[in-house]
Structures are given as structure tokens and as C-alpha cells.
Amino acid sequence: MTAVTIESRKPFSLPGWAATAAVLGVAYVGVPLLASNYVLEALLIPFLALSLAALGLNVLTGYAGMVSLGSAAFMAVGAYTAYNVALRLPGTPLPLVLAVAGFAAAAIGLLFGLPSLRLRGFYLAVSTLAAQFFVQWALTKFDWFSNGNSSGVIDTPPLSVFGIGFDGTIGRYLFALTVVTVITFLVHRLVISQTGRNFIAIRDNETAARVIGVPVLRTKLLAFGISSFIIGVAGVLWAFAYLRTVEPAGFNLDRSFQILFIIIIGGLASIRGAFFGAALIVVFPLVLSRLGSFLLGGLFDSGVLDMSQRIVLGALIIIFLIAEPDGLVALWDRFRRRVFPGT
């Protein structure tokens, strides 16, 4: 893994704390008041779900240094578990459904994380593809998972916590926002804890970590477990709050790559990186399509859009890896220091 500097700011120094509060204030009060339904539905809710998935992958890849190409599989496990719990045990409170979905994803994550005990680098990345294909196959093959629904596309049950419905657009947004906020706070605590330092130690030098007494095997599995838990919950948000349907095709290999791309572009081993990257990934297709039809007019049909999206995305990955391996976060920090020196 490339060397990534650990953020050296104190966790709750005033500017950081104030900035977080300001962001949360805008997200909870400003956005619901100002944003249109379209912005919430098409941009903010998928942004939140993808950010959470990227945050989960960042624990594994950014902090613990293990590349996974199977994130979408863990999202799928989360989404299908939540669906089945809600279907078969009606009346289960939603927070419990989320937790069960997360633990199910974590269990599958641990299973497919076992090879990490012996494999590194590419070999491990390739082995996580096994998770991707196996889970997708199992979900399409056994119709118990989709409750015998032949089309494979199933509607999710209504969202409600303790009798309060979250089914409107704003409700689903606030629900996703709350889940993301809570988990982000926990991840923030995690990465500055001893466990988080163990992750980084293993990433930077496994042998040295072993020498100073880091329990390498346990820590690696823990990283897989925590990461898949978060990605599983992100899968629930993706299915329940954004699409409101569950289908295996939405959790394919392209989704796994998308999540990996988010953390490469946003910034590896950075909590804010997941959010920066997800914002770019969600917004850039829209910008590209506007720009394309403005410049090329009728020539810019959906096929061309699709292909140019792939090209631009791929090029962005290469450019970021070459020019700014620390991602958008590093760009943003440099910009901030120049504009507001002393913060």
C-alpha cells in the first residue's frame, strides 16, 4: 500500500469539531428545507449509501491495506438479510434489522476473509472476487432469498422506527443520514483507537507489527468483519432507502469497482475521503451528460454517454494515482490551507 499520512489533527480540536457540527447542521436542517425531491432522491440518498459502503471498504483497504473486489457482495448480503428479516419476522424494530443485516454481512466477510491469513496483495484481491461471484450466484439460484419472487426484483417493506414512518423522500433521507452519521462517528473512534493503529501497523509493515506484538491474524479478520458489517448496512440503505427494491443485478462487480474507485479518488485511509469520493462519483455522470449534450448536442446519446463515463472514470483513477495518491482529501486540505492559512 502506498504510504498514507495519518491525520495528525487532534480528534476534537475546535475547528474540526465546529466543522463537523456545521456539516451536520446543514445536512439535518438546511438540506431538507432547501433541496428538491429530485436532488434528495437522485443525488443525496445514493451519495449517503455509497459513502457508507466506501467508508467500510476504507477500513479494510485504506487502513488495513487489504484490497477487496467483493464489496458489492457484502452489500447484497446486507440487503437480502434485511429483507428476509423484515419479511419473516414482522415487527422486528428497524435498528435491529440493520444490526442483523450488518452481522450477517460480517459473518460472510469473515468467511471470505479467511484467505487473508495466508494471502497478500493481488492473490487476496483475486480471492475476494470469489465472494462476489459466489454470493451473486447464490442469491439468484435459491429463490428462498427473494421469497420465491421469479423476477428477482422485490419491493422493500416500509421504513419505520418506533412507529414513526420514514417513507417520504425526506424521511428516507433523514433515516440514511442518521445511520451514516452514527457509523461514521464509530469509525472515527475506531481508527484512533488501538485497533485502528493495529490496522495501520499491519498495512505498513506486517512483520514489524508482529514483532511489536500486534495479533496479526486476529486483527486482519477483525478488519474484514468490521468492514463487511459497515458495507452490509450500506447495502440495506442502498436497497431500502434509495432503490426501494432488492435485486442481485444491482450488486454486481461494477458496483464493487465503483466503491473501490470512490476511495481511490476520495483518499485512502481517510474518513472524509469516502464522502468526497462518493460525491464525485454521484455527481460526475450528471455533469458529464449536461456537458456532453451542451457541446455535442444530438450526437451525445445515451450509448456515447455510457462509454465516455467509463473513459473519464478510468482516466480519473489513473490521474489520481499518478498525481494525487492521497485523493480529493489532500487536494481539499491544500486548498483550505491556501485560502484560510492557520486553520
Binding site: F133, I317, L321
Partner: protein, 299 residues
């Protein structure tokens, strides 16, 4: 089953599996070339296969003769190799291998997107003029096309082996694969060698693209054969051509035998992950693959 095991059927399935394994090996060899000399696991190999096949077919459909289209595609693949070295590899020299791997993921997107932006997304048929009539060897049916593909693979492996062993460039490749710093110290120019290797991998991609294209039709899904080649590589070791062949044979045979003999217990369709399962189990026993170099871990 009433006591008798249908051996000729078993042999037929096994042969079919081994031959389709050769097709996987064809793709895997392209990876091995690049991995050996530059230490990069090139995820974009599949998209290079797509690019080659799509370019060739589109030129053919524009009315060019077979040989001209082949020559032009060859040139395109070589140029692509040179461009990749200049634009992606050279700026990323000395970065961690996994960073380079992620860069090739981006590269795969760029090449797939460009190929389809230039030539369109429709499915093309490709006829290489090989009739696919099944041949019969003492009761066992074998596809002619598969035999032809196996022959091509054999020729390619022999050519590469001779090239690596007896030419100056081949010697330079081996020197770089062995020790980059020592190779630099004796005056080999790494950028040249990488550009040559990527061009060579482009040619391998062209051969694989023609054979796979004739089999499946030339379309986007060609680039997904990279996913079939990865377990082969894991099994054979990323840096061994012999490993790519043997790995391909094992994966091909297991897939077909598995699908026929145990697929029913799982409700079919297990091809999508069986190869990975086999490769994983194998890796847990021997982490560097069948023929891979045992890496010394440095602190």
C-alpha cells in the same frame, strides 16, 4: 447409476474441459508476460482482448482483406502498448504493486470505453474459416475449433519460449524479470523493455481476441474473460507461462467435470465461481501457485 460408469462420456467431458482450459491459458499468458517483466497484474488484459477483436472485426466489415485488417490491428495493439507505457507505467514507476494494479483497473475502463466508443456496441460475428465439425476419436467427440485453438496456443507458447531463450530482447526481458536494478545497472533501458512487453501482450491479446471472438461473438463480454483468467493465474502462479498452461487445463477440466457431475446438486450454474473455489483451496495449501516463484519476504 447401475454399476457402470460411462468412461467414454467422462473422457469426452474431460477433453472438452481441457481444451476450453487452453482458451483460458491464451488469455492468462498475456498477464504472465507483463507480470514477469514489470511486476504488474494487468487487469486491463481482458479489455485489450476486446479492443483487438473489435478493431479487427470492424476493419474486416469495412471491406478490408483479412491480412490488411490483421496487420492494421497488430499495429494498433503495438501503439496501444507504447501509449500505456508512456502514459501510465512511466509516471507510476517505483509505486507499490497494488497501486499499479488499481491503475490497470482504471486502464481497463478507459480501453473498454474507447473501443466501444470508436467501433460501437453491437455484437459482431467473426468467422475465421474453421469449420466446427466434431471429430471422433474412438467414440470420443472433440471439437475441431478447440483443437485448432489448442494448436495456436501451443505455437504461441513455443514461440515465446524460443524468444525468451534465444534472442537478445528475450534475454533482456529475463534480466529485467530477474532483477530490475541489476538490469538497469548493466544499461538495459527499462522503458523500452516495458513498452516492448506491453506491445507483445497486445499481440497475445489479439490472438486470444480472434479465437474467443470466433467462439462467442465480438462484444463487450469478451473483456470479462479476464475474470476467467484470474483463477488460472492464481493456480499457476502469476509469473510462469507453464503455470498458465497447466492452470488453464486444471481449471477448464474442473469446471466442465464439476458442471456435469456435481452441478446438479447445486442447481447448476456453478461455473461462475467453481474456478475461484478451486483456486482458493489450492492457494491455502500452496500460496505461491503451482509454478510461481517463492517470494522471499523482506522486512
Amino acid at each position: 447409476m447401475d454399476g457402470g460408469f460411462d468412461w467414454s462420456f467422462f473422457v469426452e467431458v474431460l477433453t472438452g474441459g481441457l481444451l476450453s482450459g487452453v482458451m483460458y491459458s491464451l488469455v492468462a499468458i498475456g498477464f504472465v508476460l507483463i507480470y514477469k517483466t514489470s511486476g504488474v497484474l494487468n487487469f486491463a488484459q481482458g479489455s485489450m482482448v476486446l479492443f483487438a477483436a473489435l478493431t479487427f472485426v470492424s476493419l474486416l466489415e469495412k471491406g478490408m482483406p483479412f491480412a490488411v485488417a490483421l496487420a492494421l490491428t497488430l499495429i494498433a495493439m503495438i501503439l496501444l502498448g507504447l501509449a500505456i507505457e508512456r502514459a501510465v507505467l512511466r509516471p507510476l514507476v517505483n509505486k507499490a504493486p497494488i497501486t499499479l494494479f488499481m491503475a490497470t483497473l482504471g486502464l481497463a475502463y478507459v480501453i473498454e470505453g474507447s473501443a466501444q466508443l470508436i467501433w460501437g456496441t453491437q455484437v459482431h460475428g467473426l468467422d475465421l474459416g474453421i469449420e466446427d465439425v466434431p471429430l471422433e476419436f474412438s467414440g470420443v467427440l472433440v471439437s475441431t475449433f478447440d483443437l485448432f485453438a489448442a494448436g495456436v496456443a501451443a505455437v504461441m507458447v513455443i514461440a515465446l519460449t524460443l524468444f525468451f531463450r534465444y534472442t537478445r530482447v528475450g534475454l533482456a526481458f529475463r534480466a529485467v524479470a530477474d532483477d530490475q536494478f541489476a538490469a538497469l545497472a548493466v544499461g538495459l533501458r527499462l522503458p523500452h523493455i516495458w513498452a516492448t512487453v506491453w506491445a507483445a501482450a497486445g499481440i497475445v491479446a489479439l490472438v486470444a481476441g480472434l479465437l474467443w471472438g470466433a467462439r462467442l461473438g465480438v462484444q463487450f463480454s469478451l473483456s470479462l474473460i479476464v475474470l476467467k483468467a484470474l483463477p488460472v493465474l492464481v493456480l499457476g502462479g502469476f509469473d510462469s507461462i507453464a503455470g498458465a498452461i497447466v492452470g488453464g487445463l486444471i481449471i477448464g477440466a474442473t469446471e466442465k467435470l464439476g458442471e456435469v457431475y456435481i452441478g446438479d446438486y447445486f442447481g447448476g450454474g456453478i461455473e461462475s465461481w467453481l474456478a475461484y473455489a478451486v483456486a482458493l483451496v489450492f492457494l491455502l495449501i500452496k500460496p505461491s501457485g503451482l509454478f510461481g516463484q517463492k517470494l522471499v519476504e523482506r522486512v
